[in-house]
C-alpha cells in the first residue's frame, strides 16, 4: 500500500497513541479487523535489522566509552532504548520529600526495545489480592478472563519456559527453554539448601521459529540491543511493522501528543500533536482514540485534555487519573564464586537474560509484608564492558592463587593482570522484583508551573514507599545473602540496611509503573471499565499499564499485551455494532 499524507479533514477509524506493547498490539488487531489506523509515536522510527540502527554484536571498543551508560542510554551505550530517566526538554517534577524516576523511550516500539523479555502471566491470586490480604483492590476481571488472551499472545509472540503446574504461576504455550549456565547451577545449589525454587525462566525469545517473519535466537545474550533477526519480542518488529505491512496503518513519528480532542458531547474526535521536526501543531481525526503512551504519559494526556464537558481532564470525573501509580520494588546483591575463578573458557552467552529464575515461593500470611517477589539472576562470562575490572582494591584479596594463598588488595603489575584474567566469569548477582501495594496517595498530577519544550504541562510525581515494601526489601536482602553464601560466594560490600531501605530502589527505577488509569466496576473509584474503556468517554480506551489495579510480582508486559488484545477485540465489536 502506498502512503498518503492525511489531510486534516480525513478521519481514521482509530488513532493509537504510542507504539509500545499496548499500542503495538492494538495496531495489529484493529488493522487486521480492517480498520484504518494511525499510530502516533513521540520518537523516531527504529528497525534493528537495518545496519545503521544495529548495536547488536558490537564489541566494547566500538564505543568510545566502552559501553558505559549515558544520559540518553542509561543501560549502556549499546542499549537500544533511546530516552532514559532524564530527557532533554521533557522534564517532570516531584513533590518535596517524595521520589519517582520516570523512564521513557522515544522510538517506535518504545521500551520494548530493551526490556528483559521476562514474560510472566499474572496468576489467579494476582487479580484478587484484596480477597487474600485485605489490602488494595481486586481487579474487576480474573485470570479466566485473560487466559485465552495470554494463550494467544504466547503463540503470536513466543515465550520459552517449562510447564510447572504452580497455581499462581500459570503455564502457557512454551517454546523450549535453554539449558542453565554454570553460575546458575551454583545459585541453584545454594537455593536448594534453603528450599528456594529455581526453575527455567520465561522469556519472550524464540528458541524456535514461530512464523516465517522472525528468525530464531542465535544466542548472543544481547536482547537489550534489539535483535536483527527479530528473535526477541519488541513491539516495533513484531506488531507495528507487520501491521503496517498488511493493513491500513500509518505511522506518525516525532509526533508528541498534547491532548485528545473532544466534541460538544465530550466524545473523543482525535488528537492534537506537536511535530518535533517543525515544532508545529497538527490534528488528526478518528472515530476512536486508543492511548498506549505508557501509564504516566497516557494519564498526562488525559489530564491535559480539559474541556467544558471534562473540566478536570478527559474522563476524570472520579479524580482517579494519576492515582494508584505503582512500580515494582527492586533490591539487588552481588558477589563472586571462588570455585569459578580460573574457569574454562567457552561461549556462555545464551539468550539475553537469565536461563533460570525463582518465582515467589512463600506464604505472605506468615511474613511481615503482604506481597511477594521473584528473583532474577545474572553473572558468568558475559561480555566485559565499562566497569569490568573495577574494584580490585577490595575484591583482589579474596582471589586466592593456584596454591590457595589469599590475595592482596589492590596492587599492580603482572600479578594484578593475571588475577583479573582468572576472576573473569566468576561474578554472580541477583535482583528481587516485587509487588507493592497500590495506594491512592501515590500519584502523578499536572504541574501547573512547568511545561516541556513543546509547551505541554508536565507531570508532577508524589510517591513514597510504605513499610510493606521496605519489609519486603529486607526479606530480599536476607534471602540474597543466604542463597549467595550457600552457593559458596564471597559477597561484595556491606549488606543493605534500614538507612537505604534495604537497597530498595527509588520508585520508577524498575520501569514497571502502572495503575494511573485503573479499571473498575465503580466509575467513582476507577477511570476505565473492565474493557479498558473510559467510564466517561465511550470512544476512548487505554491499552498500556495504566489500567492495572495491581501489578503482581510479575513484569507487566505480558499482561499489557493480553489486555490490549482483549480491549482491541472489544473495540472491533463495538465499532461493528456502531456503538462507538
Amino acid at each position: 500500500m502506498s502512503f498518503q499524507i492525511n489531510s486534516p479533514g480525513e478521519a481514521y477509524d482509530v488513532i493509537i497513541v504510542g507504539s509500545g506493547a499496548g499500542g503495538g498490539m492494538a495496531s495489529k488487531i484493529l488493522s487486521e479487523a480492517g480498520f484504518s489506523v494511525a499510530v502516533v509515536e513521540a520518537g523516531g522510527d527504529f528497525d534493528p535489522a537495518k545496519e545503521e540502527d544495529r548495536t547488536q554484536l558490537r564489541f566494547p571498543w566500538e564505543s568510545p566509552r566502552r559501553g558505559a551508560s549515558t544520559r540518553l542510554r542509561p543501560f549502556g551505550d549499546f542499549d537500544a532504548a533511546i530516552g532514559g530517566w532524564d530527557i532533554e526538554g521533557e522534564p517532570y517534577t516531584k513533590a518535596d520529600g517524595t521520589e519517582f524516576d520516570w523512564f521513557r523511550s522515544r522510538m517506535v516500539g518504545g521500551r520494548t526495545n530493551h526490556w528483559g523479555r521476562i514474560s510472566l502471566r499474572f496468576g489467579p491470586n494476582d487479580f484478587k489480592r484484596k480477597d487474600i490480604d485485605g489490602m488494595g483492590d481486586n481487579w474487576p476481571i480474573g485470570y479466566d478472563d485473560l487466559k485465552p488472551y495470554y494463550d494467544k499472545v504466547d503463540k503470536l509472540i513466543g515465550v520459552f519456559g517449562s510447564k510447572e503446574g504452580i497455581y499462581n504461576e500459570p503455564d502457557g504455550f512454551f517454546l523450549p527453554p535453554p539449558k542453565p549456565r554454570l553460575h546458575e547451577l551454583y545459585i541453584k545449589k545454594g537455593a536448594d539448601k534453603m528450599s528456594v525454587p529455581v526453575m527455567p525462566s520465561r522469556l519472550s525469545i524464540l528458541t524456535k521459529p514461530i512464523n516465517n517473519e522472525r528468525g530464531a535466537c542465535f544466542f548472543c545474550n544481547q536482547c537489550n540491543r534489539a535483535c536483527q533477526a527479530y528473535a526477541d519480542f519488541s513491539a516495533g518488529t513484531c506488531l507495528v511493522k507487520p501491521a503496517m505491512k498488511k493493513g491500513k496503518v500509518d505511522l506518525y513519528t516525532y509526533a508528541m501528543v498534547r491532548k485528545v480532542t473532544t466534541d460538544a458531547k465530550g466524545l473523543a474526535t482525535g488528537v492534537s500533536y506537536i511535530s518535533k521536526v517543525d515544532m508545529k501543531e497538527y490534528k488528526l481525526k478518528s472515530r476512536v482514540v486508543v492511548l498506549g503512551a505508557s501509564a504516566c504519559e497516557s494519564a498526562r494526556i488525559m489530564l491535559n485534555s480539559k474541556s467544558s464537558v471534562h473540566p478536570d481532564g478527559l474522563g476524570n470525573g472520579s479524580g482517579m487519573i494519576g492515582r494508584y501509580l505503582h512500580d515494582s520494588t527492586g533490591s539487588d546483591r552481588m558477589g563472586f564464586i571462588p570455585d569459578l575463578v580460573d574457569r574454562q573458557k567457552y561461549n556462555e552467552d545464551g539468550v539475553g537474560g537469565m536461563h533460570v529464575y525463582t518465582p515467589w515461593w512463600l506464604d505472605n500470611s506468615k511474613l511481615d509484608f503482604a506481597r511477594g517477589y521473584h528473583i532474577e539472576y545474572w553473572g558468568g562470562m558475559s561480555m566485559p564492558s565499562y566497569g569490568f575490572g573495577f574494584g580490585m582494591d577490595t575484591i583482589r584479596k579474596h582471589i586466592k592463587d593456584e596454591f590457595g594463598n589469599p590475595g592482596t588488595a589492590g596492587g599492580y603489575g603482572a600479578g594484578l593482570k593475571k588475577d583479573i584474567r582468572r576472576y573473569f566469569g566468576s561474578m554472580v548477582g541477583m535482583s528481587g522484583r516485587g509487588e507493592c501495594i497500590p495506594r491512592y496517595d501515590n500519584y502523578c498530577e499536572i504541574d501547573n508551573n512547568t511545561v516541556d519544550k513543546f509547551g505541554i504541562p508536565v507531570l508532577k510525581f508524589n510517591y513514597t514507599w510504605s513499610d510493606q515494601e521496605i519489609n519486603q526489601a529486607k526479606h530480599m536482602q536476607d534471602t540474597f545473602e543466604e542463597v549467595l553464601t550457600n552457593a559458596g560466594a564471597v559477597l561484595f560490600g556491606e549488606k543493605a540496611g534500614p538507612e537505604s531501605k534495604y537497597g530498595l530502589h527509588a520508585p520508577g527505577r524498575i520501569i514497571h509503573e502502572v495503575g494511573t488509569t485503573r479499571m473498575g466496576n465503580d466509575p467513582k473509584t476507577s477511570v476505565l471499565n473492565s474493557n479498558c474503556q473510559s467510564h466517561e468517554c465511550k470512544n476512548l480506551f487505554v491499552v498500556d499499564g495504566g489500567s492495572f489495579v495491581s501489578q503482581a510480582d510479575k513484569n507487566p508486559t505480558w499482561t499489557i499485551l493480553a489486555l490490549a488484545w482483549r480491549t482491541s477485540d472489544h473495540i472491533v465489536s463495538e465499532l461493528k455494532k456502531k456503538n462507538i
Binding site: P64, L175, L185, K208, A216, G413
Partner: protein, 236 residues
C-alpha cells in the same frame, strides 16, 4: 548492505539453515509522515545528538603532554605486557582514559590532582618531578599507594587516586581487543547454546535435572516451526 546480505554474513555454515522459514524477513516499512531523516542517518544506532556529542568530546583535549607522559608510564606499570597479551599502552588505554574523563567529568579533578600529587611526593622525597625520578624511586611512591590495606594514613589521597587509576586502566585494557585476547573471550558471535560442556559439568560436580532434559532447547529441532497441542505441549 541490505538485511538479507546482513543475515547471510551473520549465519554461516550450519547455522545458516532454517532460521527463517522462507529466508526472507519483513519488508522495509513504508514511508513515514513527519519523520524526515535528520542529518546523515545513524551509525551503530547513534542519534544525530549522540554523534555530535561524541565528536565534540573527541575534539576536546583534557590531559597535557606532561600528564599524558605520566599516564603512559603508570598504565603500563598497572597492566604490563606478559606472555599472554600486550600492555595497557599497546591496548590504547591512555586514549580511553582521555576520552572517559571528558565523558564523565567527575573524574577530571581527581585524575589531574592525583597525577600532580605524584610530582609533589617526588619533590618532597627526591627533589625532582615524578618522571625525573628513577624507576626505583617511582616504584617506591607507587608501592606506598598501591596496597589499600597496608598503606599509611598519610598516603590515603594517593591510595584513592591509584584505586581510580587501577579501575580505569583495568577496564580500559580488558574492554579492548588486546584484553579480549587476554581473557580468551569466546562470546559475542552467533552460536547455538547447548548447555555447559560435559567436562565442565563434571569438573564442577553438576548434573542437569532429569525432568528438564526432554524439554530443553534441542539444536536439532530448533529450526522447525513451533506447534502445540491444545494443552500447550510442544509437538513441532
Amino acid at each position: 548492505m541490505n538485511r538479507r546480505e546482513n543475515l547471510k554474513l551473520l549465519f554461516t555454515g550450519s547455522l545458516a539453515s532454517g532460521l527463517f522459514m522462507t529466508g526472507c524477513g519483513p519488508e522495509a516499512p513504508k514511508e513515514i509522515a513527519h519523520a524526515p531523516v535528520i542529518g546523515e542517518g545513524t551509525k551503530w544506532g547513534r542519534t544525530p545528538e549522540e554523534m555530535a556529542h561524541n565528536a565534540a568530546l573527541k575534539e576536546d583535549v583534557f590531559f597535557t603532554e606532561g600528564e599524558m607522559e605520566k599516564l603512559n608510564y603508570l598504565v603500563d606499570v598497572i597492566i604490563p605486557k606478559d606472555d599472554v597479551s600486550g600492555s595497557a599502552t599497546d591496548a590504547g588505554v591512555p586514549d580511553f582514559i582521555e576520552f572517559i574523563v571528558k565523558d564523565m567529568p567527575h573524574y577530571q579533578t581527581p585524575m589531574r590532582g592525583g597525577l600532580m600529587w605524584l610530582d609533589n611526593q617526588a619533590d618532597d622525597r627526591f627533589g625532582k618531578t615524578f618522571m625525573e625520578a628513577s624507576t626505583e624511586e617511582r616504584i617506591q611512591i607507587i608501592d606506598d599507594i598501591a596496597y589499600p590495606d597496608k598503606a599509611k594514613p598519610a598516603m590515603s589521597r594517593g591510595v584513592k587516586f591509584f584505586n581510580t587509576l587501577r579501575d580505569l586502566t583495568s577496564t580500559g585494557f580488558f574492554t579492548s581487543q588486546e584484553g579480549f585476547k587476554d581473557l580468551d573471550y569466546k562470546g559475542n558471535r552467533p552460536n547455538v547454546w547447548d548447555g555447559i560442556p560435559d567436562e565442565v559439568m563434571a569438573k564442577h560436580g553438576f548434573k542437569l535435572e532429569e525432568k528438564y532434559i526432554p524439554i530443553y532447547m534441542n539444536p536439532d529441532t530448533r529450526a522447525t516451526l513451533a506447534q502445540w497441542d491444545d494443552e500447550g505441549n510442544l509437538i513441532g
